[in-house]
Every structure is written in C-alpha cells, then in structure tokens.
Amino acid sequence: MQLLQQFDEAPCFYFCTSDNGILLQVNETLCLKLGFSKNELIGKKTEIIFPVATRIFQQTHLFPLLKMQQYAHEIFISLQTKNKEQIPVLLNAERKIIDDEPVNVYIGIEVNNRKKFEDELIAAKKTAELALSENTALNTAKEQLQQRIEQLDEQMQLVKKQNKELQQFNHAISHDLQEPLRKLSVFSDMILQTNNKDQHEQNIKKLKRVLEQMRSVMSGLQQYIWLTGNLNKAGNIDLNAVIKQAKQQSESGFPGVNLSIQQQQLPFIYADEKQMVLLFCHIFSNAIRFRKPGTNALVKITADSIKLNRFQNIRDKYQYTNFLKIAIIDEGIGFDAAYKEQAFELFKRLHTSSGRGLGLALCKKIIDNHYGMISIDSIEHKGTTVTLLLPERAE
C-alpha cells in the first residue's frame, strides 16, 4: 500500500496494524522520529516500537477498547526509537475493515511539552502541599506559642505578686522589727539615767509594751511565712462551724468582749479549714478592735452565689464559673476608703491606735491560696465591709 506523499510527510505519526500486532503501514514522519527505515518496520511486530509498558497497556486496555467500541481517543503512550529512547505520544486509534480484514489505524503526535507541563504541574502541586503542611505546622506552633504566652502571663503575675510581697517583707524586717529594737535601746537608756521611782516604773512598762509589740510582729511574720509555704489541706468544710470557731478565737483576744454575729445559714465550701478560721478570726478581731466606743461588737454576714470570670490575669479570656460571695459587715469606726488598697499590705496600719497592721495581709494571703478575691470598703464613722469571693469548686 502506497501512502499519499503529503500524508507520508504530514506532521504526525501514522501507523496501522493487524489484529495479531503486525505493522502494516508506517509514515515517513514516524520512521524519521524513531530512526528506522520503513522496511525495518513494516511486517514486524509492534514490539519493535512499543516499549514494555506500552505493550502491556496495549494488550490490557487499548486493544480491548478498540475491539469493543471501534475507536480510542486521546490515549497517552510511549513509543521507542531504535536507540530505545522513549517518546511520549498522544494517540487516536480507529478500527476499520479493509479488504474484509480488520485493521487498527493509529495517528499520533509527540507531546514532549505536555509531559513537561504535567511534570511542572505535579511539581507545583507537591510544593503547594508542602507549603500547606508547613502552614499547618506553623499554625500549631502559633497555638502553642499563644498557650505559652498565657502561661507566661500567669507566671509574671505570680512573680510580680511575690516580688511585692518580698518588698513588704523586707520593709517589715527593716522597719517593723528595727523600730521596737530602737525603742528598747532608748527606754533602757532612760531607765539607766533616771533615779525617780515612778519614772522608772513607767519606763519599764514602756519597755514591756515594746517587747510585746516585737513578739506580735514576730508571730505575725511567722504566720505569714506559714501561709506562704503551706499548701492547702482542703476539704469540704462547714462555714457555719468555721464562723463559730473564729468567733471564739477572736473574742479570746479581747477579754470581756462579746461579738454578736447575725448570719444566714452558710454553705459548705471546699477550703482549708485552719486557714478559713484564721481568715474570719482576723476580720472579726478588726470588727471588735474598731467598734465604736461604747458599743457592742456586731457583724452581719451575707452569702450569695454569683458568676464571675475565672481568668483574673489574662485579658480577653473568659470562663464564667460560680463564686461564693461572702460579705462581713460591721458598724465600727471605719476608715477613709481612699486608702483601702493599703489595707492589705503587710504591717500597714490605717489606724494608729491599735493592731499591728497584719490581719488583712494574712487574710489576703489566705484568699490568694484559695484562688479567690478579697476587697474592703469603708465609710468613716459608719462601718466597714469585707467582701470575699471564693470559687465554688468541688473536690
């Protein structure tokens, strides 16, 4: 069979085969590309131009498809040259009957560029996938960083708090312990220098009072240290029983004084009982110490359950949980509320008359140990309210 010259040299590959895989016709373009002469191909098995993969594909897919539907379009295969190099080719195939014999006709074009584009696309896809996975890793890292920032914030708050406490502690050591020492020195000087018996006795009384002050400062510092180093021995405790104990203890510090308490039934809370007794004892002692002259000491206690954000240190973070709000209200002499923030500082006294300025610092420490909040409000000559907020947590 002779091909038209135009078709022989057309810019496409042409070949046809019999059903048993013999090459019947090839065009010049194909021969040129594969490096064979027509004679080397015609009458040979297609294996000569089909590499192994193409052979398998031809037998399992292409040929059955051709037999079934008489055509197969846009089939991507490889042909091989005389030098066994592979050339990617896009084929259209049709099955025709010529002279009563089935003939399979193939037209193909070389698709080197398409292969290159495909390779580029695959490479780009891989890059994109890699970038995406790196982005996921980055996001995870970001989230972890955020968590660390939150932890850092809490730690910083803690360090700040501890630093402040340390400063107050230093002040207590340098001032509140030095002061009685200095006075001891002055009063003992005076005792040595005077011969007057009355003066002598007065000076000794002063000396004893200063010693008592010193003892009280020391025991206060001891309590403070005990509360700093002491982990909560928490359990479910009855607040009513705590109040009862605290009342007895605070009254024992003021002989002859009876503290009246008006209270509603209080709930059980999860807390350290000893610390809670100490907390209420200090608040009650203040109510007794700073009652109006000539009046009986009286406190009212109220309790409510409220919802509060449990995140106190981190901005823009909210989780509302139940808190027990306890208010202890007295009708004592009160103090100027402008200075209420100082009330919780160690050895800070807002009244010069009595007290060592320690009770509320200890109260704050106890409340901190229980992850709660404490605040104080006061109106001079009207009375003082101490408010406690304790998280309601189960065991």
Partner: protein, 128 residues
Amino acid sequence: MENNKTILYVDDDEDDVELLTDAIRGIDPKVTIAIAKNGAEALTYLQSVQKLPCLIVLDLNMPYLNGKQTFDKIKADSSLQHIPVIVFSSSANPSDKATFNSLGIDFITKPHNFSAISEAAIRMLSNC
C-alpha cells in the same frame, strides 16, 4: 527666741511623739507642738490653721499619706512651700536620705539613745 512658735510634728508612733515632744519642751517650754498622726491629718491641719508653723517635722513611714507623699504635697502648695521641713525617720534606706539631702532637706535618723533625742530637738529648734 521668738515666742509662740509652733512646730508641726507628723508621726504615727506615739512613743516617738512623746519622746521628741518632751525633749523639745525640755529645751524651749514656750514652743507649741502640734501633732498629726499621718500626712492627711497634717495637710488638714495646715489648711485650717491661721498661723502656720515655723517648722514641719516629718516621719516617713506612716499610714494614709506617707512622709514623702506629704512632703511633695506641701512643696506643691504655694502657701506652704516656704515652711522648713526636717525629716525625722528611722528609715534605714540610704536612698531615702539621699533623696531628701539632694533637695536640701535635713534628714535626722531617729536616735537609738536617749541623749541623741535632745540633740535632735536642738537641731530642729535651730531651724525654727
């Protein structure tokens, strides 16, 4: 010495108030000593009194307004800033002393013996 002089002594420590008052009166019985227990009381006194004191003796460690805060308020008030101030404190903090000395303010450390209290009183009266 001029008669009817008044010294304002601002201190929350009753022992020191008694000791210094006795010492000043022992030297000059005619001096009036006004006592304020903290800075807030001192400012109230200064704003209400007709005849201003010739000297203000300031303790540093006090509740409400402390000595430094009180000092700042006095010096910021044009009607009070001319009154001489002596700091009388047991503060062991060297920066406290340096701060006041740099402002030209006499800083007397509260004495550890009885005779030094009289010396402090003499130093105060010489500023009055």
